[in-house]
C-alpha cells in the first residue's frame, strides 16, 4: 500500500484515496462548438504511458479534495503531488 502525500493533509495511506484518471484535461468551455471528433477525443482519448504520468487523485476518505500527482506508472514512485493552481512540477530525470 502506497503512502500518498495529500497537498492539504500530508502523508496518508493509499486506501484513503481514489484515483481519478489523467490530469489537466479541461472540459471545453463551449462543448456545442466541438466537432464530434474533438468531443470524442475529450471524452475517451487518454495517455497510457509507461513512465511519468500526471494524474488526478482525490483524498476521498480524508479532506475530500482533488489534487494532481506526478507518478511513475512503472515504479509507482510519486515525484510530486500538487494543487490544481500550483505550477506543474518538472518530470524528474
Amino acid at each position: 500500500m502506497l503512502l500518498i502525500r495529500c497537498p492539504w493533509c500530508g502523508d496518508r495511506a493509499e486506501l484513503e484515496f481514489r484515483h481519478c484518471g489523467e490530469a489537466h484535461i479541461v472540459r471545453p468551455a463551449d462543448p456545442s462548438a466541438q466537432s464530434d471528433a474533438e468531443w470524442a477525443e475529450y471524452l475517451y482519448l487518454r495517455e497510457n504511458p509507461r513512465g511519468w504520468h500526471r494524474e488526478r487523485w482525490r483524498h476521498i476518505h480524508g479532506c475530500g479534495r482533488f489534487f494532481n500527482a506526478l507518478r511513475h506508472t512503472g515504479t509507482d514512485r510519486f515525484a510530486a503531488t500538487y494543487r490544481a493552481e500550483d505550477p506543474r512540477p518538472e518530470i524528474p530525470e
Binding site: D30, D36, L43, F66
Partner: protein, 935 residues
C-alpha cells in the same frame, strides 16, 4: 534406521510430548518440529506425491519443504490441510495425518499411476482440453484425476479461531534472524530507532541453531535484543509480501490458548534489511525423491539442532563444499558415512574427509536409488562426458540416508516482489541483488554465497526421470519435452510443465528447472530468464488475510431509522448496497407473492407507508447553487421556484443516464437533491469533481444529508387524509400543495420537510424529519393510519408499483448505455439550456439514431410473465433487446426502435419452456393521464 541421539540438540528432554500420525502414537520433545519428531521415531514416509502418488519423505528442515505436507487436526473444526511438517512446532496431543493416499500411506493403489507416468506428461491438461481428447476428458480423465490428484482435504466447518491484524512502523525491519539478521538488528538497535526482527522459525538463530559451537553467541545476541525496549522480536512470523515503499506484510502464528490463531502485521519501515538466507539445491539423479533422500544441510540440522539421526549409514551426493560439513556432523553424531560422491573432479575438502576415514569418490554421481518406501542404497558411478553418471560402471552402495548438497540459491523472493532487480552472477553461480530499491539492504547469504559446481553443469547431468519439482511431480524429462514442443520462454515452460507452481513456489525447483532448460537449449542461464516471484512467499491462511472482517464484520451494515420497527413487524429484509431494507411484511400464512400483492392493493386503495430513508440526499447551498445544478443536471433549475421540485436526471459526460432523483428548491440559495439509494456516494463524488475542478469559480457547497433525515413515504389516495392532521405550518391541500411542491413544516411537532412526491403513481408525500425522530413520527402516523387501513410496504411492492406506472430504476432499466430519450424521458431535459453535463454527447450521431433500444411496456399474450433479463427476439434473428422489469401487473423492456413498434408481438426467451409472446405497449400501465398522481 534412525532415531534420537542420547544427548545434544536444543530440544527439552524433560518435556516429552505425545502426538499421533495416521492414528499411531509417538513421542517427541518440546523444541521438536513434527518433522524432527517423526524422524526421531523412524518415520520417513509421510506423504504421497501430487500426480504419481510416489512415496515421499522429509526433504528439508524449513519452509521450502515440498514433500512433507500433512493434515493437522486440532479438533472442533480446526482441520488444516497441506501444512509443512517441518514448520509445525510439536505440541502435546498433536494429531497429524498423511494426505493424498488410499487406502493407506504404505499401500496406495493410485501409486500404480507411477508405473503409468507416461500418461501424464508435461502439458497433459492443455493437450487434453484442446485436442480431440476433449470428449475423453469428461468421460475418463476428469473423474479419474479428481479421485487421484490434489493435496489435502479442505476443512468442512467454519474456522472457529480468531485472527487479528496490526499496523506497525519501524526505522528498520530485519527479515530473517540468522547470524546476518541478528547482527543487523543489533546494529540498527544501537542507532536508537524502532527495530522489528522477524523470522519464520519458532526459534530465532537460523543457521546458528545447527551449530552448537555458536549457541553461546546466539544466546548473547538474543539477550542484547530482548533487553532493548525498542526492539520487537517476532518468531514464527513470515514476511510474505514486500510491497513498494517498504510496506511489508507479516503473518505471525500465535496459536494462543484463547483461540487467537494468527496475526497479520502490516509494517511500514524506513529501511528493510533482507537477511533471508539461502536454500540448498537438490541434485537431479533418478530416484531423488525416495524417502530417505534429503538435503544435506537439513540432515545436519536434524542432528545438531534436534538431536535426531535421520539415518545410520549415509551416502552424500555433493557438488558444494557445504556437503562435507553435513557429512562430518553426521559422522560426529555417530552415523556411518559410506561414501561422499563428489560431482567435482578435484574437491578441496576431499582430503579432510579422507583424513576422517570417509571414502570420497571424485567425479562420481548417482545413477539411481534402490528401495521401496525407503532408500536402501544407491548406484554410484563415475561421470561420463557431459556430466551423467555411467550406468555401465555403476556399483551399489548400501545406505539408509542419501544427502544432496547441490549448492545454494540466495532467497530473494521479497526483493523481487519489491521490484528490486536480480542479476546473474557467474562467479557466485546465482542470481544476486542487482539494483536495490531505496531503503532495502541485503545481508548474509541472500546477498551471495560461495559457489560450488555450477548449477548448469549439475543440470547437464540430470537423469530424465529425476525430480526437479518434487511437489508438482515435474521431472527433467518434462522440461525437455516442453522445450522440444517449442516452449522456450522460461515463463511458458513453467506454465506448461507446472514447474515451480506448487504451494512451495518452487523454492527447491525453480533454479534447477531453469538450469535444465538452459543446459538443454545450450544457452546461458540469464538468457533463458528468471520467472517472476509473486507473493505470498509461503502459503498464508485466508483467516490471517481476512482478520476480523468476516461474517457480520465483513462490511458495515447500514440500518435505516425504522429498521427496528420493521424488524418487530416481522419484515423480511434484503441488502441494497450496504443498506438492509425491508422487502415485504408478511402476515401469518403469507408468502412473498401474497404479501406483496396485499401491500400493493392497499396502496392503490387506501394508503401505504414506506421507509424511504435510504435515499441519498445532498444539500446544495450557496449563491451559485442554482447555477451549479443547472450545469450538472439535465433540468432547468434557474426557473424552479422555491417551494417546488423537479424529477432530476444526471448524465455522465458521455450522455448516458448516471442517476436520478428530485431537485427541490427550499430557498433561492438552498436545494435538497435526492439520489438513488445505491448512487449516493458516486453522485456526490461526481458533483464534487465538477465543483472543485471544472467550476471552481462557483460559490456552492455540497453536504451529504443522507443519514440526517429519516424519510417516511406516504402513498395512496388517503395519504393526505393520514398526514394532514399531523402537519403544522403547511397547507397540504390539493390547490396549495400540488404534485412536486415542497416546504418546511412541523410534523408531529418535529421540524422537518414535506415533499409532494410519488414513486407509485398515487397521491404521495415524503416526510423528512431528523433521523432520531423518525421512529416516533412513524409510530404516530401508523397508529392513526389504522382508521384508514394503512399498510407498511417494502421494497418489493415499491418496485411493482413504480413499474406499473412506468417509472424507471437507474441500474435496472438502465445499464450505462441508456440516454434520457431511450427511456422516453426527454421531457426532463431543459430545452433552452446551452450546456449541461452530457448534453454535447446527446448530439452525437449515434445518439440520434431511431433504432436505439427504447423503453417499452410488454404485455404477456399467454399469461406467462417473462424473466428479468430475458432476451427479446423475433424468429431466429438476433436479440432485439431485453426484459428489464417483470411483474404480474407490468413488464418493462428495452426494445430496438421500441416506440415505433406498438402493437407488434415479440418473443421473450425462456429458460424453461417455449418463448413467451409479448405485445409491445406503452410503458405506463396505470393512470396514463396522471389523475391519481395529481389527486
Amino acid at each position: 534406521m534412525s532415531g534420537r541421539l542420547p544427548a545434544g540438540g536444543r530440544i527439552d528432554r524433560t518435556r516429552p510430548l505425545r502426538f499421533t500420525f495416521d492414528g499411531r502414537g509417538y513421542t517427541g520433545y518440546a523444541g521438536d518440529t513434527l518433522a524432527s519428531a517423526l524422524l526421531a521415531n523412524g518415520v520417513h514416509l509421510v506423504g504421497r506425491s501430487f500426480k504419481y502418488h510416489r512415496p515421499r519423505g522429509i526433504l528439508s528442515a524449513g519452509s521450502e519443504e515440498p514433500n512433507a505436507l500433512v493434515e493437522i487436526d486440532r479438533g472442533g473444526g480446526r482441520r488444516e490441510p497441506n501444512v509443512r511438517a517441518t514448520m509445525v512446532p510439536l505440541v502435546d496431543g498433536l494429531v497429524a495425518r498423511s494426505q493424498n493416499r488410499w487406502p493407506s500411506l504404505r499401500l496406495d493403489l493410485a501409486s500404480l499411476a507411477g508405473l503409468a507416468a507416461p500418461l501424464l506428461p508435461a502439458g497433459f491438461y492443455y493437450k487434453t482440453f484442446l485436442g480431440p481428447g476433449r470428449e475423453a476428458w469428461h468421460r475418463r480423465w476428469e473423474p479419474l484425476i479428481r479421485r487421484m490428484a490434489g493435496l489435502g482435504r479442505a476443512p468442512d466447518a467454519p474456522d472457529p479461531d480468531r485472527y487479528a491484524n496490526r499496523y506497525a512502523h519501524a526505522e528498520v525491519l530485519v527479515i530473517g534472524a540468522g547470524p546476518a539478521g541478528l547482527d543487523a538488528a543489533i546494529a540498527a538497535a544501537e542507532q536508537g530507532g524502532r527495530v522489528i526482527l522477524c523470522d519464520e522459525q519458532a526459534e530465532m538463530g537460523g543457521s546458528l541453531l545447527a551449530d552448537p559451537a555458536q549457541w553461546d553467541r546466539l544466546a548473547a545476541m538474543l539477550a542484547t535484543l530482548r533487553a532493548n525496549p525498542r526492539v520487537t522480536l517476532l518468531p514464527r512470523t513470515t514476511a510474505f509480501h514486500h510491497g513498494l515503499q517498504n510496506f511489508v506484510s507479516l503473518a505471525q502464528v500465535l496459536d494462543r490458548p484463547d483461540g487467537l490463531r494468527e496475526r497479520l502485521w502490516q509494517v511500514r519501515a524506513r529501511r528493510v534489511v533482507l537477511a533471508t538466507g539461502a536454500i540448498e539445491r537438490t541434485i537431479p539423479f533418478a530416484g531423488n525423491d525416495r524417502p530417505g533422500v534429503m538435503l544435506a544441510d537439513a540432515a545436519r540440522t536434524y542432528a545438531a539442532r534436534y538431536g535426531v539421526l535421520p539415518g545410520r549409514r549415509v551416502v552424500a551426493s555433493v557438488a558444494h563444499d557445504s556437503g562435507y560439513d553435513a557429512a562430518f556432523t553426521l559422522q560426529d553424531a555417530g552415523e556411518t558415512v559410506a561414501a561422499i560422491l563428489d560431482l567435482r573432479a578435484d574437491p578441496a575438502r576431499a582430503a579432510a574427509a579422507e583424513a576422517r576415514g570417509i571414502t570420497v569418490l571424485r567425479g562420481h554421481g548417482i545413477v539411481g536409488t534402490r528401495g521401496g518406501l525407503h532408500v536402501t542404497g544407491v548406484r554410484a558411478a563415475p561421470l561420463m562426458e557431459g556430466g551423467r553418471p555411467d550406468p555401465v560402471r555403476a556399483r551399489d552402495i548400501a545406505c539408509d540416508l542419501v544427502l544432496m548438497a547441490g549448492g545454494w540459491t540466495p532467497t530473494l523472493h521479497l526483493l523481487s516482489q519489491a521490484r528490486g532487480r536480480l542479476r546473474w552472477d557467474e562467479a557466485a553461480d546465482a542470481f544476486l541483488p542487482g539494483d536495490l530499491p531505496e531503503g532495502i539492504t541485503c545481508v548474509g547469504s541472500c546477498a551471495g554465497t560461495e559457489a560450488g559446481l555450477p548449477i548448469r553443469a549439475i543440470a547437464a547431468g540430470a537423469a530424465p526421470g529425476a525430480f526437479i519439482d518434487h511437489q508438482n511431480d515435474v521431472t527433467a524429462k518434462d522440461i525437455a519435452l516442453a522445450l522440444r514442443e517449442g516452449f522456450t520462454s522460461i515463463e511458458h515452460v513453467k506454465r506448461y510443465t507446472t514447474n515451480g507452481m506448487a504451494t512451495d513456489q518452487g523454492k527447491t525447483s525453480n533454479m534447477l528447472g531453469l538450469a535444465v532448460a538452459a543446459a538443454t537449449l545450450g544457452r546461458a542461464l540469464p538468457e533463458v530468464g528468471l520467472t517472476t516471484f509473486r507473493p505470498p512467499y509461503t502459503p498464508v491462511t485466508f483467516g490471517t488475510l481476512a482478520g476480523r472482517a468476516r461474517g457480520l464484520d465483513f462490511e458495515p451494515i447500514r440500518r435505516a431509522p425504522l429498521h427496528g420497527w420493521a424488524e418487530a413487524q416481522g419484515a423480511v429484509f434484503e441488502p441494497v448496497g450496504q443498506w438492509m431494507r425491508a422487502r415485504y411484511f408478511p402476515r401469518a400464512g403469507e408468502d412473498m407473492h401474497a404479501a406483496v400483492a396485499r401491500e400493493c392493493r392497499a396502496v392503490r386503495a387506501a394508503v401505504g407507508m414506506l421507509d424511504a430513508s435510504t435515499l441519498g440526499k445532498i444539500e446544495v447551498t450557496g449563491p451559485d447553487a442554482a447555477e451549479f445544478l443547472e450545469r450538472t443536471y439535465v433540468n432547468a433549475v434557474h426557473s424552479l421556484k422555491p417551494g417546488r421540485s423537479r424529477y432530476a436526471l444526471l448524465l455522465r459526460e458521455d450522455g448516458f443516464v448516471f442517476d436520478d432523483g428530485i431537485i427541490a428548491r427550499l430557498a433561492p440559495d438552498r436545494f435538497h437533491v435526492t439520489t438513488t439509494t445505491g448512487g449516493a456516494a458516486r453522485v456526490l463524488h461526481m458533483l464534487e469533481d465538477y465543483r472543485q475542478t471544472e467550476f471552481p469559480e462557483l460559490r456552492v457547497w455540497l453536504t451529504s444529508t443522507t443519514e440526517h433525515w429519516g424519510v417516511i413515504a406516504l402513498q395512496g389516495p388517503r395519504a393526505r387524509d393520514l398526514l394532514a392532521p399531523h402537519v403544522e405550518g403547511l397547507d397540504l391541500s390539493r390547490e396549495a400543495f400540488p404534485h412536486m411542491a415542497c416546504g418546511a413544516a412541523r410534523i408531529c411537532g418535529i421540524p422537518g420537510l414535506v415533499f409532494r412526491a410519488s414513486f407509485t403513481g398515487e397521491l404521495g408525500f415524503e416526510v423528512n424529519v431528523p433521523a432520531g425522530h423518525a421512529p416516533m413520527v412513524w409510530e404516530r402516523l401508523w397508529q392513526d393510519g389504522q382508521r384508514l387501513g394503512v399498510v407498511a410496504y417494502g421494497t418489493e411492492a415499491m418496485h411493482v408499483l413504480r413499474a406499473e406506472k412506468g417509472y424507471v430504476i437507474v441500474g435496472q432499466e438502465t445499464d450505462g448505455t441508456v440516454t434520457p430519450d431511450d427511456l422516453g424521458y426527454g421531457w426532463a431535459i431543459g430545452k433552452a439550456k446551452r450546456d449541461f453535463v452530457g448534453k454535447r454527447s446527446l448530439a452525437r450521431p449515434d445518439m440520434q439514431r431511431t433504432d436505439r433500444l427504447q423503453l417499452v411496456g410488454l404485455k404477456p399474450r399467454d399469461g406467462r410473465v417473462p424473466d428479468e433479463g430475458a432476451q427479446l427476439v423475433v424468429g431466429e434473428g438476433p436479440s432485439q433487446g431485453h426484459v428489464t422489469s417483470a411483474y404480474d401487473v407490468a413488464v418493462l423492456g428495452l426494445l430496438r426502435a421500441g416506440r415505433s413498434r406498438m402493437g407488434e408481438t415479440i418473443l421473450a426467451t425462456s429458460l424453461d419452456g417455449a418463448p413467451i409472446p409479448l405485445e409491445v405497449v406503452p410503458p405506463v400501465f396505470l393512470d396514463p393521464k396522471g389523475e391519481r398522481l395529481h389527486g
